[in-house]
Subunit: 380 residues, 2 copies
Amino acid sequence: MQRGFAPEEFSARTVRAQKLMQAAGMDALLLSCEADIRYFTGFLTRFWESPTRPWFVVVPAAGKPVAVIPSIGEALMAQTWLDDIRTWRAPDPADDGISLLVDTLNELGPRSIGTPMGAESYLRMPLASWAQVQAGLRGAVRDDGGIVARLRAVKSSAEIAKIERACAIAGRAFGRVPQIAAVGVPLSQVFRDFQRLCLEEGADWVPYLAGGCAQGGYGDVISPAGDAPLAPGDVLMLDTGLVWDGYFSDFDRNFSVGPAAAETIGAHARLIEAIEAAADIARSGTTAAELFIAMDRIVTGGAGGSDAGRLGHGLGMQLTEGLSLIAQDHTVLEPGMVITLEPGLQIAEGKIMVHEEDIVITDGAPRFLSPRAGREIMEI
Amino acid sequence: MQRGFAPEEFSARTVRAQKLMQAAGMDALLLSCEADIRYFTGFLTRFWESPTRPWFVVVPAAGKPVAVIPSIGEALMAQTWLDDIRTWRAPDPADDGISLLVDTLNELGPRSIGTPMGAESYLRMPLASWAQVQAGLRGAVRDDGGIVARLRAVKSSAEIAKIERACAIAGRAFGRVPQIAAVGVPLSQVFRDFQRLCLEEGADWVPYLAGGCAQGGYGDVISPAGDAPLAPGDVLMLDTGLVWDGYFSDFDRNFSVGPAAAETIGAHARLIEAIEAAADIARSGTTAAELFIAMDRIVTGGAGGSDAGRLGHGLGMQLTEGLSLIAQDHTVLEPGMVITLEPGLQIAEGKIMVHEEDIVITDGAPRFLSPRAGREIMEI
């Protein structure tokens, strides 16, 4: 499979954004975060791990996006479809890109500049710099009205293929868990080895791994691994977000260490039942809330959810992005949206189990991108 | 080595912050980013990979920090030294922690609230939410004046031990590069295998890997790997930021694929010479700028740097943090600061070589945390 995208994909994304910008009366769109910048440019690097330097892309009313970036990124940005790349030598304590950004925005967005200000967005630059930028602008800055998030939510077939490849890699790694997990192996070792399996199966990198392991269910799903060894009766869960060519898979698998207790077997089957209930109705026109309700009915009896807060979410260039499967999210599903179904249930006080699959929305039944798990919990 | 820190370490950090807050007339300190929150709490999770939920910690004028977080994190936060953990069920489109944060800040910071606004800081919450928070506050919000960055820059011996362990893991992985890199192996495969080696040698995870590979020097140091195979005469560079218990190593190694050309040998030796020049003067009282000048004299003949922008930086809970080795950074080094020395030079147009080591500042000669490389470039 080809890495990257054809230039036509980026120009199509840009034109779509520009139509929405025009309708909203916006001259320019200011982007500062990794995924948003990559969406419009193809600029892919792990260098974002360093918080030091701000990076900007401005989408003008017409024509290609313009990059306003540290010079260390010029060579890589020059390999994208962009022509206009403006750089400064960062870090510069006196003017870390501020005047260059102000000049660019005043040129391209003299009246009205949009930037993502809504849910799960942030401005990746110091607040002090932002105040200086705002003071220098001729145009007014306002919320982009969700333009960027809306575009990113619906994936092209090329994007879906990358997510599907990431899911296949994770699926093969999960299939090899019996090789690395057994009674007596510390959970921290299982975590290290599982990441190794993901790489061996073809992941570019493994930005996310969480999980849990405890008797009859785990306490939460975001903890790092401790050094306690696996014991008979434990339920082991591994939840990975691995990346291929900048696109994530995000699903988990549960394992019973030794023969599973009746409660464990029952809980796992119920989670799969919840997945089936959601998959039965997940298609173009269904809402996020309807998927939540379908799963919540099964995992809590319709109590309205749990402390985890949601039963799935959008997926793509980020581990989680876009919609949430909660009762209050009435986003209407469209073909090409990729989402996770992530029901969880409480087995006992402080003991939960969570299962997750990745699907793509179509006009008919959803297509599973993750290799769909069976009702029976796997035993190791 | 023990994971985490004793509660006394966190209380000492908090008391130090509170003294600086008092001197600056600040009632409370608002934190929203991973490393800042972890510094005061010990809250360690890879869940930050998901951008959906905002997380907050407020350091009051006296007493322990207060967490204002999504309920999905309550169980893990309850394992830290904090007592006061306030949660909401996130995501909540109607009020995603805003009123809870406002109430907490009005209680703990009724007059003056500091938050990091300077270099490499950002506010990890949507701008729209931030506007709502500000509208609800009784106290004024201002820059923390670098309090958090200043505290984090000087590491405790327990922190240094974790960084040293991460460096030792990376050192062992670099020692095994000849096992994975050879003529004909695609660079993307080398990247995957090198991350596997890091895990095998004990890394918890590998958030960062960059590098390059090309004839006689590479074009930049932030690109992802392509699928082109290694060829004789290539210079291969791998630069990793791996993590053990939440602390980073960050250094690179260069390799000659087959016998090295005279320019390659000379360039590598000159980089090591630059490291030596910096190490000769790196101690308590030296400034960041002085280290830059010492290295720049050797790598550019004193031209004042290159497009990379700096020749080293602080290191710790983040891949890069704090000071920059540039001519304009006059930060005075203190014992306990951990920094990287990262000289780079241009061998020919579009061909560079970069070398990096990690050191801790003392009153005398610096201690190398990375296993110091020799003058001769390694051949594979």
